[in-house]
């Protein structure tokens, strides 16, 4: 497996460099924010809570991302998808980007056949990298201006800004809720659960239900750990429900009204 040129020791050296780079950058920003947080009077408990709840929260989605690496590994080996999904990449885009890159180099078989030619592999690496770096060019140029504009508006009309910020979050959440209710899947690929149906609705309803349940419990017990774990627990329990329905009621689980 590791004798394949796509997953040789050199490729592993690159991914090791990526991991060190990304973690060092995150630690640097975290340290600066932590120090500033203490200066602002935010308690250590609140800061610790932000770290632990975010770390626990990220667990299940991270496994989902690792599974996407496996999906892409047939064609591209383990390392390139691993790098792509550790930096810049997004689970929603990366498969499409890989297929686009494979087709561009003349591999119409998509992700089902391994890339055997180093030149093709190198072309794919270039396409996938160049195709995703635009935000890294834009952000250093425009971010300060965007933040200044937002900050100016916030200082002039803070109530309106609060409503607009909440509305922006709600708009984002609505897009995903809407997809769970009425999003279309890929009929030609016949993947169970990619269109709105019983599974997406189960995931939505059970996660909402568990989250409300934990919120109510926390209102009564007022424990920091419940607050920190409420969301990751709701997610995992909802996923267990999806597995149960899919295992015990497969005919019902396969129902999709938008495919």
């Amino acid at each position: 497996m590791f004798t394949d040129f796509k997953s040789d020791s050199f490729m592993f050296l690159i991914v090791l460099g990526v991991i060190i780079f990304v973690c060092a950058q995150a630690l640097f920003f975290m340290k600066k924010a932590w120090t500033r947080g203490l200066e602002l009077g935010i308690t250590k408990d609140k800061l610790k809570n932000a770290v632990t709840s975010s770390a626990i929260f990220s667990f299940a989605p991270a496994i989902g991302i690792a599974i996407t690496v496996i999906t892409l590994s047939v064609a591209l080996g383990y390392v390139l998808p691993w790098i792509r999904l550790t930096v810049i990449g997004a689970i929603q885009y990366e498969t499409i980007a890989a297929i686009g890159a494979l087709e561009a180099v003349g591999m119409e078989t998509g992700l089902s056949q391994p890339v055997t030619d180093p030149e093709t592999f190198s072309a794919i690496a270039w396409v996938m990298t160049l195709g995703s770096i635009l935000p890294l060019i834009l952000i250093p140029i425009v971010l300060k201006k965007i933040q200044k504009g937002v900050s100016d508006v916030a200082s002039k009309n803070s109530k309106w800004m609060d409503v607009m910020t909440a509305a922006a979050f709600i708009g984002l959440i609505s897009a995903f809720i809407g997809r769970g209710l009425a999003g279309t899947g890929k009929a030609e690929e016949a993947i169970i659960g990619d269109g709105a149906g019983v599974l997406s609705l189960t995931a939505l309803i059970t996660s909402i239900g568990f989250m409300i349940f934990f919120t109510l419990i926390n209102r009564r017990l007022k424990k920091n750990w419940i607050e920190a774990l409420a969301m990751p627990l709701s997610m995992v329990l909802a996923m267990i429900f999806v597995v149960l329905i899919n295992s015990f009621l497969p005919e019902i689980a396969a129902i999709e009204w938008r495919y």
């Binding site: 460099g17 991270a62 999904l85 689970i91 890159a101 897009a175 969301m231």
Partner: protein
């Protein structure tokens, strides 16, 4: 907000973005050098042309997400990726737990810490699981089997379902319109989540603005 701190965040962020850019470009360069193969410009150009939608969504994402992620959170998120399915909900959840608002310095601090913690955790978990999958193909088969794969396929809905429970209950008046509008739109056309998010945000902000003007919120 403290200008001194924010100015420093932007300076660090800009330097880290440029470093990241150079580092990421070195990856395909290193692959080409290592294998001594140089793909033709026409092949790379053709590939990039097929990814044109990513350039458009890249611009939209920077404008749409950065006010919600904060400065430090934006610099970190756009380097480590998986923004809308992981970093953004993580930041929203952390702000809710810490009871701080976006676009305040407290919000800036909490989102930066949350996104940094999420980035480190995600990077380590991906590394551990990819190695387990690679060394033990049977485990990989189980995780991507018909039994478990649907659960991971629905993970995004479990994230946003949980978030909706806290956010919609708190702001139900401005939540009804965007959900209905997005769902109705999806009945006619599904533009993909990358396009749907800015549409949802616009629907939501327009609806909230009207309600604010009518003094309903």
């Amino acid at each position: 907000m403290n200008k001194n701190y924010m100015d420093k965040v932007h300076t660090y962020g800009r330097v880290s973005c440029v470093l990241s850019l150079i580092f990421f470009l070195c990856i395909p360069l290193a692959i080409s050098l290592h294998f001594n193969v140089w793909p033709s410009l026409s092949v790379v150009g053709k590939g990039l042309a097929s990814l044109i939608i990513f350039f458009v969504t890249g611009i939209v994402e920077v404008v749409a997400y950065s006010p919600m992620l904060g400065a430090g959170g934006t610099y970190l998120s756009f380097v480590s990726g998986n923004i809308m399915n992981l970093k953004m909900p993580c930041a929203i959840n952390a702000m809710e737990n810490a009871k701080v608002k976006a676009n305040t310095e407290e919000g800036e601090v909490i989102t930066t810490i949350a996104i940094a913690a999420s980035t480190i955790t995600t990077t380590i978990i991906i590394a551990v699981f990819v190695l387990i999958f690679a060394l033990n193909p049977k485990f990989s088969e189980v995780m991507s089997s018909d039994t478990f794969a649907p659960a991971f396929q629905q993970v995004t809905y479990t994230i946003f379902g949980s978030l909706a429970a806290t956010y919609f209950v708190k702001h139900w008046k401005i939540s009804i319109f965007p959900i209905i509008a997005v769902t109705i739109l999806l009945l006619f056309v599904d533009p993909g989540i990358g396009v749907l998010i800015p549409i949802g945000v616009i629907f939501s902000m327009v609806g909230a603005h009207i309600m604010f003007k009518l003094k309903k919120v």
